[in-house]
Point group: C2
Chain length 405, copies 2
């Protein structure tokens, strides 16, 4: 049998569902533009914003997350945006396209924050023709990655004429009478912009959960078990609003990523419909693209391993995404972290113009299988010169680390 | 520490070695253009083609493989080539560039065989401007892959104006007085060409090994153990001339691939220098590129699983190498094979314009770790829209197969 991938699997058929109407055809009732105002868990009833009430036997909390917005003056004025959902994206695009700023079209953008969303957004802004600056409190972008790799990301920003402004905390946003429409006041000077977008991360949206006394984990997300059940048996939680078990950290973490939310949704659905299923957790795999640069990571970094009481060893090597003769100067860096006493693989990071995500996916599978450096050092990969050398950096790093044990 | 990848690791430094002179600097003596004519294992001596003899305590056989050439008339004449080493490649290029054929420059190429070398060679020939035909005894190219994927490979040949001529056995090659310089006689008609290249696979070169009575495996390659030792303790064998342990087939196979040879060389070297090491074997990962098509496989296919007495289940799905909205019509197909009774992953194949090799490397790691469909169905991968959807075909196929158990 041959299947095509879609979004809803029902009765083993995969249905591609895009609109509320298509959803309804699957037998699922969808109410758009409706909010749950209150939950009465003892009666098993939710009260909706349109005045209706709905009774439930089982309730799924999928309340997602909310964008972190600093508590400074001026964050609500025109030209200041968050980027959370499709509506935000459409609003930002419309503003850039249509808004008449002091000097005509919207021209200058400031992005606050330097995580992966800020990186993706800076590329999008640049591609829309805006002068783009990233303003960040720290020294280097994408702090989940090793400094050596963060510097590669910084170089990629710079070579694409995106201005990275480190060591700045936003203090206020003011309307600007002059050439640009906005002024960002920081603890270290002022900058002008026509549009400012917050990309300072997200926090679980747990207000409804708190209202009814669901247990909240130490990651400030709804506490769930491996079946996605909350502290009340009849209430499940999935996605950005709840925690997820990290198999390498051996603890519950908050990792608001789309693929994890999808998995949790399916696990909850299976359990609710009577098919026992548990979520095996995550190893922390994550990636983003910045122009032609792939940036990816999985597992934990050295400092996280130390915090767990482990004795991490790590190294970085630079290889090529194809055999050296075919790589046209492109490079791919790979960092691997392992435990010195057991040789267990703990994490990996990769950055490069091609091949980085593939390496991290392979190493995520290795982490998933609990492999050691001995396992990884001679792992069998599909070698061919257009896709790498006969020794993949994966094997080389594992062998180098093995000698440090 | 940051390393750059090279070819020789010595005292934990990685040295890039390209010429005999560079090798000698590492302290390794290299004799080029010298053949071993005879081995006297009882005296521990080899006799060289230049008359010298060399004494050894330990001997490593790395005699490689030889190209399969059919036993038909005319295979030794000008314009007929094999493609095994750098010399062959240089000879072919020089012939194509310089040879004056009947109509001027060398214009028409025939490749005999339809494995991955034939595919790579056809692309190279086409890129050199030749009219290129592939002549093959079977119906479809690359028989290691599922028919559905072989057809994709065939389409890629056809759309690049490479002529695939199935169901033809070569009978003779003759000099041609007319427009082209050669004539290929087959069991089903004749074809003209200026150059004919054999790509019919290779066979282990075991003549020296047989001479001294080393045990030969049932794959017609030198029998070795996991330490790369032959049936004589002081003689090791590595690379195309010897067998390799296949972890999924649970038997020794002949798999003449460059990455495997590299690994075996290092294992033998470690053991010879007193560091006990065993080769963990292979899962059969392999890949090649054909124009913009990636083709890869790992593990075993259904028919091989059946031959082992297993009960394989399998399916193929088609996904996209990026999120659907970013894929510009590009597709990637994934086949997965698992055992019905245990759910153990047995193999996978992938073909697509991007992403196929990456998927197979991830699944090779899963095979390496002995994972089941339950492990693979919810594996944590580095999701981001430029690199795929939130459900990777890897997870989707595993879940579909899980329901067939």
């Amino acid at each position: 049998m041959t299947y095509y991938i879609g979004d809803v699997i029902k009765d083993e058929r995969i249905l591609i569902v895009r609109t509320p109407e298509q959803f309804e055809k699957t037998g699922i009732r969808v109410r758009v533009r409706t909010t749950v105002e209150e939950i009465d868990p003892d009666k098993g009833v939710v009260r909706l914003s349109d005045g209706d009430t709905l009774a439930y036997d089982t309730l799924v909390m999928a309340t997602g997350s909310k964008v972190n917005i600093p508590d400074i003056p001026g964050v609500r004025q025109e030209g200041v945006f968050k980027l959370k959902d499709l509506r935000d994206a459409l609003d930002i695009k419309a503003y850039i396209k249509d808004k008449q700023c002091g000097h005509g079209r919207c021209r200058k953008a400031i992005i606050l924050g330097a995580g992966f969303i800020a990186m993706e957004l800076s590329e999008a802004m640049k591609n829309l023709g805006l002068e783009t600056s990233i303003v960040y409190r720290g020294e280097l972008p994408v702090k989940r990655w090793d400094e050596e790799f963060s510097k590669i990301v910084l170089d990629k920003l710079t070579s694409n004429a995106i201005d990275f402004v480190p060591h700045r905390l936003p203090v206020a946003i003011e309307a600007n009478g002059r050439e640009s429409t906005l002024r960002l006041i920081t603890d270290n000077g002022e900058m002008e912009a026509d549009i400012i977008v917050f990309a300072l991360g997200v926090t679980s949206n747990i207000s409804l959960a708190e209202q009814i006394g669901l247990k909240i984990g130490n990651t400030n997300a709804i506490m769930v078990d491996l079946s996605q059940r909350t502290s009340r048996d009849e209430i499940y939680a999935v996605g950005d609003c709840c925690g997820v078990y990290h198999r390498i950290k051996h603890q519950w973490v908050h990792m608001p990523l789309g693929d994890i939310a999808n998995k949790q949704g399916r696990i909850a659905g299976a359990n609710i419909s009577g098919h026992s299923m548990t979520f095996p957790g995550v190893v922390g795999a994550q990636s983003f693209k910045l122009f032609d640069l792939e940036v990816a990571t999985t597992g934990i970094d050295e400092w996280e391993a130390k915090a767990m009481g482990l004795h991490p060893i790590s190294t970085i090597i630079w290889g090529t995404p194809s055999a050296r003769s075919m790589s046209k100067g492109r490079k791919v860096g790979l960092k691997m972290v392992a435990d010195k006493s057991t040789g267990k693989l703990l994490g990996a990071q990769s950055v490069g113009e091609g091949g980085a995500v593939a390496k991290i996916n392979t190493l995520s599978a290795c982490l998933w299988g609990g492999m050691t450096l001995d396992d990884v050092g001679y792992i069998d990969l599909a070698y061919s010169p257009p896709f790498g050398g006969p020794w993949d950096p994966i094997q080389v790093v594992a062998q180098i680390l093995r000698k440090q044990m």
